[in-house]
Symmetry: none
Subunit: 192 residues, 4 copies
């Protein structure tokens, strides 16, 4: 059985994703976790701490999707697998994706935990690395790897952002096709 700390984390995550940052309250979390609001404070110093732990867990979950992309045999294949990982994470862990990438709160406020920053940074750098090796191997024309990585991330975030805010429709299979086509279109502009 889950220990209380995990129950709290899960409840917090659910509520964040269900009702947004603003809808998350200690009371609601406690109620969803089946405990008293007070009891949360045994496990987390403050709401802020809890919030950050949720984000940290989220980035780690994301990492577990993203990093296996290294199994690809060529730079292009690894980039492709990373793109796939994005899609799978965004659809399978939609709420986490939303929380991590689509919630527009600055992730570098003074009080943001160092661990959190590190986790966030490292998945970003993973993408830069994937792009860099595509360039270095000659698959991509010469360009700034960070900017390309940013472009790819932008597309993903923008794409899923539109999806999440229901600005257009379609089921997951449809989605995947659109996603793949979008990826191909971007790629076309990048290939050497």
């Amino acid at each position: 059985m889950l220990d209380t700390k995990d129950k709290i984390l899960m409840a917090a995550c659910d509520i964040y994703l269900d009702q947004g940052t603003k809808g998350m309250s200690m009371r609601k979390v406690a109620s969803k976790a089946g405990i008293t609001p007070t009891a949360i404070y045994r496990h987390f110093d403050s709401k802020e701490t809890l919030h950050q732990q949720v984000l940290i867990d989220g980035f780690r979950a994301f990492g577990s999707y993203l990093y296996p992309a290294l199994k690809g045999e060529t730079p292009l294949e690894r980039l492709h697998l990373a793109a796939e990982a994005f899609f799978r994470f965004a659809t399978e862990q939609a709420r986490y994706y939303e929380l991590l990438f689509l919630t527009m709160e600055a992730t570098d406020e003074i009080n943001v935990d160092k661990i959190l920053k590190r986790e966030a940074r490292s998945s970003y750098e993973f993408m830069i690395e994937r792009v860099r090796e595509c360039i270095d191997s000659g698959a991509f024309s010469d360009d700034d790897p960070e900017e390309i990585a940013m472009l790819l991330l932008s597309v993903c975030n923008g794409f899923f952002g539109l999806y999440v805010s229901k600005k257009f429709e379609g089921d997951s299979a449809d989605m995947k096709k659109k996603y793949d086509r979008a990826y191909q279109r971007i790629l076309k502009g990048l290939l050497a």
Copy 2:
């Protein structure tokens, strides 16, 4: 002189743009508008209604940036001007941009005002139209105009989303250069 309704709207807008969705409260709006919280209810049924009116105004402001792109003489130039308009709106009216495009509240919930929906839709369709004429004129290779428009929007939202959440740095001039290069990279994949 402004009538009370306008004063309320302006105050609400200021606060939204200043303190975000979360910081907006009827009290603060009333106080900024120089009236009683109660008085707002003469003019708006609820906070929700007021919120939506702010969004409608926001889309109209966006329109005033976007639609002049029609002055361009060729489809490609018009698309280019539209891209510029996005950038200017996102930087000059950053909070509005955020409110309209980056706040992940579904814009198609049952209780969303029809006018709001129409405004949101029309700027989306404007972009589709710009893409369509690029394709029809042979500037772009044959493709689905809606998907391309979506791709462009994705890039914009993703790009500014990263900017807003401070996931990377740089001043406005830097930003513009990055934005232009991103636009060129995408374009490269789309041109016939």
Copy 3:
């Protein structure tokens, strides 16, 4: 009938005096005043504001006991009447006395209202003035008026302090006799 603001003030005063500074809570005040905690905030900005208003009212009530001492025809008589006023205020408005003079919270914290400071200061200066005229008229031997006033205040506060904390017993009549004797003993050391 009392308006709500007065009801709140009275309730606050009662509770302060009944349960001490530490026992005073907005909830309790509201409950005693027969209203909702929230409703207090219509009339007072914060607990602090309410607290200070209670003190200000207290000092004013004290003034209404003290200042009529000016009716005395000689300096000594006026001093005597002031001493009497202290006694009457301390016994008739025991709780106010306690709150104003025996609650050991610094009355000069940064956030203390100017009005409050002024009220507190003016009753202190009234006593200095009474002493000064006793000295100037030759009734008292030459000495520092402020220090003498302080001595008199000290005795009063100390005296009623012991009374309040039940460190000795006796009814009000008994009390008065002791008070008078204490006053005479002090006087003996001060007279020219």
Copy 4:
């Protein structure tokens, strides 16, 4: 090495003296003592019990200042030494003084520990005794020793009360001069 009970008492005392009655909480005490809040209950039944033990210790500390006054060779000298002891205790152990003499919580409530009562009473009686011998020896004019003792205590409490609540200023040396003069003035009225 200190046993836990002593560590708790010292921590409690520190906090009382540092943050006042209001700031003392079991959590803070436990944290300062390096144990769990729960552990306190092994040693003290309740916060109240702990509080009273702190007071008992305080009265004992006070005694250690006061009782050496017996070393004086004449009644007047012993009284004088007692007055000095008051001053030193009030300034050197200001927070204790405050806690013992200026906190207006009745010291004779039903639930007050007998030991505490006894300790409090005995220092009071010490003063009565000092006064009595001044009268018996003819140094003071004939009067009620208890009332005189009370007068002296009143002056002390009143004096330091004004000092603590910052109702007037001055450093410790200044203070001492004022205190001495006040003592002399009182004495003048009491001497035979």
